[in-house]
Amino acid sequence: MIVADRKSLEEILSMIKDYKNIMVLGCKGCVTVCNVGGEKEVSILASALRIARQKEGREINIDTKVIERQCDNEYVAQLKETVGNYEAVVSMACGVGPQFLSEAYREQKFYPAVNTTFFGGAVTHGIWEERCAGCGTCIIHDFDGLCPVARCAKSLLHGPCGGSSKGKCEISKETICIWDSIVSKKMEQGRLNDLLKVRAVKDWRTARDGGPRRSIREELTQ
């Protein structure tokens, strides 16, 4: 899923400082699963913002709503009747949400309440980790299902570098050295030879480096 973190209340408050009537809009997609922009978090943010503004003596009306997916025009269209009732809309979806909203409702202002961080999953309750860099050319089968592009701090295709120590990356003791894991797995399974070659340089055109990407599936287009 797409993982995100809520922005600081200070930052969100500064975004909405001029408004007295806003909507906080959640999304039932990824941000609900990673507990940052679903029903619950929308209510918490709205309450926190109301408290902050009451404290300042500048009360604010905040309505809340959560739609199925903010990255889908079909659901975005459901806001047609209500979106104009507010001075601004604070979106708790990933970075995709406020953009679909902005494109659909040109006259409204949309503010992101979260920082979209990575593609990953929960390794345990409350802890999410990055797994994919979305480079557009998957090669994890060569590394027994572990991705060095996303998970090596230097995206090395020939690791581990000299900073690998006791299974951890040089950048922090909390970060595993994915190359240590790759090598250990290959050694265990007696397939070290898989790694003993020089890989061709990666074609980054399929990644963000090639420009904004687009995926077309002819059989689905209308």
């Binding site: 600081s8 209340l9 200070e10 918490i44 309450s47 408290i51 902050a52 404290k55």
Partner: protein, 114 residues
């Protein structure tokens, strides 16, 4: 055992502190409570195993939110005690009451109330 505790404290009963949510605490503050605290079972003695431990984390989260918006985080607290500790209950109530009095009334007031 007839123990007195400050009458300005409103007790809301829940089956387990695990039932207490971040939103319950925030709503109390939002609606003008000067303080709110959770009295849960002793750690390790939760009937539902970890309800009290989970709620302690929620209380800490609410404290963080208050801190972020410039409200004394001490207005929200969690205490651990067993249901047999009536004396302690009254003591905590007085302690919390004193603390809130020192902090003064909540800065969160609805306009019509102010």
């Amino acid at each position: 055992m007839r123990l007195s505790y400050p009458s300005n404290i409103k007790v809301i009963q829940v089956p387990c502190t695990g039932r207490v949510d971040i939103l319950h605490l925030l709503n109390a503050i939002e609606n003008g409570a000067d303080g709110v605290y959770v009295a849960g079972c002793l750690e390790g003695e939760c009937h539902y195993l970890t309800g009290n431990i989970k709620t302690r984390k929620k209380v800490n989260y609410v404290k963080k939110i208050l801190q972020e918006i410039g409200i004394e985080p001490e207005r929200v607290e969690m205490f651990s005690l067993s249901s047999a500790m009536g004396l302690k209950f009254a003591e905590i109530a007085r302690e919390m009451n004193e603390k809130i009095k020192t902090l003064g009334p909540t800065p969160v007031r609805k306009k019509e109330a102010a």
